[in-house]
Every structure is written in structure tokens, then in C-alpha cells.
């Protein structure tokens, strides 16, 4: 940052030193990296075909042959958990990145412009958010038909407003601070002020929320999979797997517990990474 306008945070004692990235960022990053590898080449790690059924080995408990046991179709749970990374990581990314980008841009512009734009945006946000999220997604998927593609559309139509409102609120506050006024006084274009000065200070909550949102997207995908509206059988997806194991919680716990653990670990990866990122963004300023 070579401008003479000083944003809050500039001139702080802490400076980013290479090799001194936040621990959380590294830990989260490692989990996500591992998840990505599993997502891209699941067959390299999965011991079996995830959809092959073995009627002779229905509901087998964990063993050397099947470390995570088998489900009610005799499918290997470990293979299905690994193969599910492909779909669930895809859900995490696809269902949130579009909304993030659209939401941040719209939010920043609206927050800076204020006035009529903000009023109209406010009404849209109110209308979208006034409706229970899951119910609206279910209704839209019911209109479009089940499947992951339609699920992304349904989530995207609604999801961007969350980011938009977070960013708009922050920008709205930031633009009243002295440094923004100084920027205006120096004759910077609104674009430069918004995206170079206001946004870096306003985006942190959106980024932190994004990481949470990715974990939430996996859960939403799972909920929809559970309701039959997300990934379609025989594809392996954690939510579908948990739903498959629902009737067996007392007799064959392994069907639902292992995918549950996978959700927790992946979610943890996103959160740690998000926290680390937030820390990094703060120190970087």
C-alpha cells in the first residue's frame, strides 16, 4: 500500500513476515489440501468401488476387509466416504463462491452508493431473507427438479444476499470514517476508494463467513441429500450416507458415524482456514 491515505490497521506494529503464517491457516490449509487430493483422485485411496454391492456382506461391522464396515447394500463405507469428497468438496465450493463474488461486489457498490440503490437492495434482501432458507431451496428444487446443478441454482439465487448485506453494512460504516473522506478529497475514483480502501477493511466478516458458509453448504447439501433433493443415488455423498444409516443408528452405527466424522473434519478445515485468513488479512494491512 503506497497511498498516503491511511486505513485503520495501517501502521500497526505487526507486519507479515514470510514463514510466519498463522498456525490456524496452516492447519486448516493442510486439512483442505488433503480433502482436495481425496476429492480429485478418490480412486487412488478407496479400497473398493463405492457403488458395488455385495449381498453377502450386508451390514458388516468394521473389520480388516472393510475398515469402516459395510452399509445395508453391502457397499464399503470407507470407499463411499472417500468418494463422497468429490461431491461434497464440489458442493462446498460451487454453492458458495458464486454467491460470495456477486454478494461482495453488489454489497460494496450498494453500501458505498447508499440512497435509492441501498433502498432497493434492502427490499430484495428483506424479501429473500424473510423466507425460511431451507424451505425456499426445497421449493425451488421442487420446481426445477432434483440434482446438484439445480441445487446450486437454488442456493445461488438466495445465498448472495447474505454476503451482500454483510459487506454493505461494513462499507456503510467504513465510508464514514476519515480515511474514506480523505480519499474522496484527494479525488480518487469511487471504484478505487471502494475496492482498494473500503473493501479490504470491510471484507473480513464476509471472508470469515465464507469459510463457515462452505461448511454450512456441505451440511445443506447433506440435508437436501437426506431429503432426496441433492446428490442422487447411487452417488456417494455424506448426507445421503447419513440418511442411509438413519435406521441403523442402534444396530450399525458405522454407516452414519464415519461420514459424520468426515463432515466434522472438513468443516474444521474450513473454519481453521477462515480464522487464519482473517488473522492474515488483519496483519497484512
Amino acid at each position: 500500500m503506497s497511498t498516503t491515505v491511511s486505513s485503520p490497521g495501517t501502521g500497526r506494529r505487526r507486519r507479515l513476515r514470510l514463514g510466519r503464517l498463522p498456525v490456524t491457516l496452516i492447519a486448516g490449509g493442510l486439512i483442505l489440501l488433503a480433502s482436495l487430493v481425496l476429492a480429485i483422485v478418490p480412486s487412488a485411496f478407496a479400497p473398493y468401488d463405492p457403488i458395488a454391492m455385495d449381498y453377502m456382506a450386508i451390514l458388516s461391522p468394521p473389520s480388516w476387509a472393510h475398515p469402516f464396515g459395510t452399509d445395508s447394500f453391502g457397499r464399503d463405507v470407507l470407499a463411499r466416504v472417500i468418494h463422497a469428497y468429490t461431491i461434497d468438496m464440489q458442493i462446498a465450493v460451487f454453492a458458495t463462491t458464486g454467491p460470495l463474488i456477486v454478494g461482495v461486489i453488489v454489497g460494496a457498490l450498494v453500501g458505498y452508493a447508499g440512497g435509492v440503490a441501498e433502498a432497493i437492495f434492502g427490499r430484495i434482501v428483506d424479501a429473500v431473507i424473510s423466507f425460511p432458507f431451507l424451505v425456499l431451496v426445497i421449493a425451488i428444487v421442487a420446481v426445477l427438479g432434483p440434482g446438484l446443478g439445480n441445487m446450486y441454482i437454488a442456493v445461488g439465487v438466495i445465498g448472495w444476499v447474505f454476503y451482500g448485506r454483510l459487506v454493505a453494512g461494513e462499507v456503510n460504516v467504513q465510508k464514514r470514517l476519515d480515511y474514506a473522506a480523505a480519499g474522496r478529497a484527494m479525488g480518487y475514483t469511487p471504484g478505487r476508494i471502494i475496492f482498494r480502501h473500503l473493501l479490504p477493511n470491510a471484507i473480513t466478516p464476509a471472508i470469515v463467513y465464507w469459510m463457515t458458509d462452505m461448511a454450512l453448504a456441505i451440511l445443506l447439501g447433506s440435508s437436501l441429500g437426506y431429503l432426496g433433493l441433492g446428490a442422487q443415488p447411487p452417488a456417494a455423498e455424506w448426507g445421503v450416507q447419513i440418511a442411509d444409516g438413519k435406521n441403523f443408528m442402534s444396530t450399525a452405527w458405522w454407516i452414519s458415524v464415519f461420514p459424520g466424522v468426515a463432515i466434522v473434519i472438513t468443516g474444521l478445515g474450513f473454519s481453521l482456514f477462515g480464522d487464519g485468513l482473517a488473522e492474515l488479512l488483519r496483519t497484512k494491512k
Binding site: M53, N247, M249
Partner: protein, 525 residues
């Protein structure tokens, strides 16, 4: 305490114990967990099993179905006789029968109720009474039903919920201009003829029924039925919650136990896992029209359908989906349906034969098709997922499409589907209902499959007026032979009704037609 009193006390205890083992106990309210709430408790205007299956507790019919669902036992009528020419039924009403408000059940009420049920403008069940021409009084307790043509199923039809007897005066005094409006108002404060009467109903939560003090039937102890003071239906849509609630003793019974948990509950202490015989079947229905949305349809080829039937391993599906609870179907109708014929699975698993048939049909390389399943239904998803694997072996690529019920019904009715998972339960102890839907092309195009057999249509039409039981049985044997060999379905399995009861509950029954019968249910104190 001296010895004399002591021994007298012991004797009394002994007596008490032995009589308790023999005799029923009265009183108490039984709480029963249901998976879905009722919608509209009018015998004629209801539309769904959630209503049908409890209506018999609120309204009695002239004739009642027997416990095995196949026979007839006296209800509000004590005697009945079909005229020799088959053109009329004479019934005699029971003496001293009363509605739950204490007013007498008269010939007028019966005539009005039956005519309302047979009126083609009312509801969707009037087809069961389509033969009814007129209902008249005959003497001071006789009722004569005049028919347009002989109907071999007319007595069975009189046991069905829609032919239940309601109070004409109280119904007509209800607010509203049309029959439907009056039914709505009446249903808020109903007066019934069954063993129980509706006391309160918090929709989506609980429904309370209390004993009808004026009910006619007598129990084992010579006193009027029912034994229970009341029934509380609790709505518990989640399977696991319903079972937990039973295990914690908060409810006394739970319906529709998932097959996966039947074994576990059979071994649970304090719980009786009942498997009531049923008429329920599960199948896959195929669209057999030559073209679907302009594209050629391989399922229109009889050999392809047979190949798919041979390639479907029903025993494996029974293990995977019903956890061994089900049995293979030996005809399109359940083996508990009267006039059912057949033994063993319709198409026993035979992969080689299936491959051979595919070759003969010119589909050696298979094809792609799809199946509509109900979103979130573990049974249907399980069946379809298993079929997906089984049919892959004869080159068929099956795509699963999970949709909600209304969407599926629409596609099905419009004929724009390849296959769908299906299920059926009889409402009448006669094969004519299922046959009119599954086989007869002029009703709903043979379960909307587009399948048609002129011979089967002809046989069905003849059987509907056939009064000679032997001839009718032959007609049904031939219909089943034709349909089972060339029909549009993959018959999968029959399953009983899995109901779990607290061990203190006795005498509860779900008959094969689905009716939950609480009238002779009782509980240990």
C-alpha cells in the same frame, strides 16, 4: 393377622391372579403413535389411508370385515341376503342401535348414508357402489338395496369405510350450503356410529377419541365394547422418534416400524413386535406406450419387460429393503386378496434367461431409462438402487429421479415417465378394486402404463357381473395369467404391517385392508 384371615387373603389373591389371566381389563386410554395425521374424517369425502385406516373406529358399517379381512361378520345389520337374480340385497338392522349422542340409528339414516356414498358427485370412492340403483326401507327394520346389475362384490363393498352409517339429521343440520360444506362443519363435532367418537383434534399433534357409550357390541365380559375409555393418536412423523417414544413408555403402540428395526424390536423387552398380515404389495410400474415424449420406448417390448423381470433378484431386494420381512409376489395382487392364484415368484431370478430375452428383443447392448422414486423414501430408494445394479448386468442404465409425491403423480397421470416405484393396499375384500386399476384399461389405463389386453378387459367386465363364484374364480385366474406374463409391472414383494406395541396392550388388530381396529383392544392395569 391370624391364620384364617391370612389364608383367605391368599386365596383372594390367587383368585384375583387367575381371573386376571383370563379376563380382559377395562378402562384406560391407549396412546398410539402415527406417522402422519388424518386429513378429513368423512367416510365418503376422504381421500387417503391416513383417514381410511382409522375411520372404522368412528363409523360402523352394516357389515364388518372379519379379522382376516376376507370374510363378513354382522355389524349394524344382523342378517343379509342377496336376491337369487342378484339384483337386490336385503338386510335386517340390529335392534336398539344408537349413535354416539344416544339418538337411534334409523332406516332413514341408513338409506341416506348409502345413497350419499353411491352418489357419483361425492368423493372418489363411489365406484365401489356403482351397481347401487336405489336404497329403500323394507318393513320396520329391513333395508333393500336395489341394483342396476348383479354385483358379486356388493357385500364386500358394504364393509368398506365409505358405506359407513352417519346420522342424517345431525349432518343436515350442520352449517353450509353444499354436501361438502356440511361435511366440513359436521366433522368439527361429529356424531358417530362406531365404538369411539372424536373428542378433540389438534391438527399436526394429537387426536383424542373417547368411548361411545351407546355402542352395540358386547365384550367377552358381557358388557358393551369398547374396553378402552379412549384412544389418543399422537403424530410422530419421524420413525426413530416414534420408536424411542414407545421404548420410553410414553406411547403404547407405534405404527409403520421401518423394516430395518423389526428384528431389534422383536428382541426388545416389554415390546411386542406385531406383523399383521396385509394386502400390501410393492412393485415397479413401467410405461409401455410405444413412444414417450416422441422417443421410442424399449419398455413397450414385452420381451424387454420379461428380461428386466428375470434380471431383478427379488430375494436380494427383500433382504436389502425389507430385511427379510417381505415375501415374493406370486401375482399382481397380494396373496391375501380373494381369488388370488399363483405360487412362488412370478419371474424367478435368472440372469441367463434375461440376457437371452434382451438379445431376442434386439437390445443386446441395452439402453438407458429412468425411474421416479419418492424423495426421502428409504424403501423406494433402496429398491431402485438395487435394481440399478441388477439391470446394469443386462446393459440397462437406470437413472433415479427423486421427486415429491405431487410431481410424480402428475408425470404419471400425463404418461411422461419411464418407470415408477409403486405400492398398493386393497380397501375391499375382493380382487375387483386392484384389478380395475392395474389391469382394466378403461379406468386409469392400467395404472397409467398404457398397457391393454382386450381379453383381460373382457374378462374383467364379465367378472364384475358374474354371480357364480366358480366362473368368477376362473375369470380371475385367466386375468392373472395374462397380466403376470405380459403385464407392465415388476412385482417385487408383499409385506405385513409392522406395528410395535407395549406388552400390556392386548386385542389390537390391523386387518389386511389396513383398518386399525381398537374396538376390542385392552390394556393391563
Amino acid at each position: 393377622m391370624n391364620t384364617l384371615i391370612k389364608s383367605a387373603f391368599a386365596a383372594a389373591l390367587l383368585l384375583g391372579a387367575s381371573s386376571a389371566a383370563l379376563a380382559v381389563e377395562r378402562g384406560g386410554t391407549m396412546t398410539y403413535g402415527r406417522y402422519a395425521d388424518s386429513l378429513f374424517l368423512d367416510p365418503v369425502l376422504n381421500d387417503a389411508n391416513v383417514d381410511i385406516w382409522i375411520l372404522s373406529n368412528l363409523y360402523d358399517t352394516l357389515i364388518l370385515p372379519s379379522d382376516d379381512g376376507k370374510g363378513l361378520v354382522p355389524g349394524l345389520a344382523t342378517e343379509w341376503k342377496v336376491a337369487d337374480d342378484g339384483m337386490a340385497v336385503d338386510l335386517t338392522l340390529r335392534d336398539g342401535i344408537m349413535f354416539s349422542d344416544g339418538s337411534p340409528i334409523t332406516q332413514d339414516d341408513v338409506i341416506w348414508s348409502l345413497k350419499r356414498a353411491a352418489n357419483p358427485d361425492n368423493g372418489i370412492w363411489n365406484f365401489l357402489l356403482v351397481a347401487v340403483d336405489d336404497v329403500v326401507a323394507n318393513g320396520d327394520k329391513g333395508i333393500t338395496i336395489k341394483l342396476k346389475h348383479p354385483d358379486p362384490a356388493i357385500l364386500a363393498a358394504l364393509t368398506v369405510f365409505n358405506a359407513a352409517i352417519m346420522p342424517k339429521k345431525q349432518f343436515e343440520a350442520s352449517e353450509g350450503a353444499t354436501d361438502a360444506d356440511k361435511a366440513k362443519a359436521f366433522a368439527e363435532h361429529p356424531v358417530g356410529s362406531g365404538p369411539f367418537v372424536l373428542k378433540s383434534w389438534e391438527r399436526g399433534s394429537t387426536m383424542e377419541l373417547v368411548k361411545n357409550e351407546h355402542y352395540w357390541a358386547k365384550g367377552e365380559d358381557g358388557q358393551p365394547l369398547p374396553y378402552l375409555d379412549g384412544i389418543t393418536f399422537e403424530l410422530l412423523p419421524d420413525d426413530a422418534t416414534r420408536i424411542l417414544k414407545l421404548q420410553s413408555g410414553e406411547i403404547d403402540g407405534a405404527e409403520l416400524i421401518p423394516y430395518a428395526r423389526v428384528d431389534e424390536l422383536k428382541n426388545a423387552s416389554g415390546i411386542n413386535m406385531e406383523m399383521f398380515p396385509s394386502t400390501r404389495i410393492a412393485d415397479v410400474i413401467m410405461n409401455v406406450r410405444p413412444q414417450i415424449e416422441g422417443k421410442d420406448n424399449p419398455l413397450s417390448n414385452e420381451k424387454v419387460r420379461q428380461a428386466m423381470n428375470y434380471a431383478a433378484n427379488k430375494e436380494a431386494i427383500i433382504q436389502i429393503v425389507t430385511h427379510g420381512v417381505g415375501t415374493p409376489m406370486s401375482s399382481y395382487m397380494s396373496s391375501a386378496t380373494p381369488l388370488h392364484t399363483g405360487e412362488g415368484a412370478v419371474f424367478p431370478y435368472d440372469l441367463d434367461k434375461a440376457k437371452q430375452l434382451m438379445k431376442e428383443a434386439g437390445f443386446e447392448n441395452g439402453f438407458s431409462t429412468s425411474i421416479l422414486v419418492l424423495a426421502g423414501s428409504q424403501d423406494e430408494i433402496g429398491t431402485a438402487t438395487a435394481l440399478q445394479q441388477m439391470w446394469a448386468q443386462i446393459g440397462i442404465k437406470l437413472e433415479l429421479q427423486q421427486v415429491d409425491n405431487a410431481t410424480r403423480t402428475q408425470k404419471y397421470r400425463d404418461g411422461v415417465f419411464d418407470m415408477r416405484a409403486g405400492a398398493w393396499t386393497d380397501d375391499i375384500a375382493d380382487p375387483n378394486e386392484i384389478t380395475s386399476y392395474y389391469v382394466y384399461s378403461k379406468n386409469i389405463q392400467a395404472v397409467h402404463s398404457g398397457w391393454k389386453s382386450d381379453r383381460a378387459d373382457e374378462l374383467f367386465e364379465a367378472s364384475q357381473k358374474e354371480t357364480d363364484p366358480k366362473t368368477r374364480a376362473d375369470q380371475y385366474a385367466e386375468i392373472q395369467k395374462i397380466y403376470n406374463a405380459t403385464g407392465p409391472i415388476i412385482p417385487l414383494y408383499e409385506t405385513p404391517y409392522p406395528v410395535a406395541l407395549n406388552e400390556k396392550v392386548h386385542g389390537f388388530l390391523q386387518i389386511p385392508l389396513g383398518n386399525n381396529v381398537f374396538r376390542a383392544a385392552w390394556m393391563d392395569k
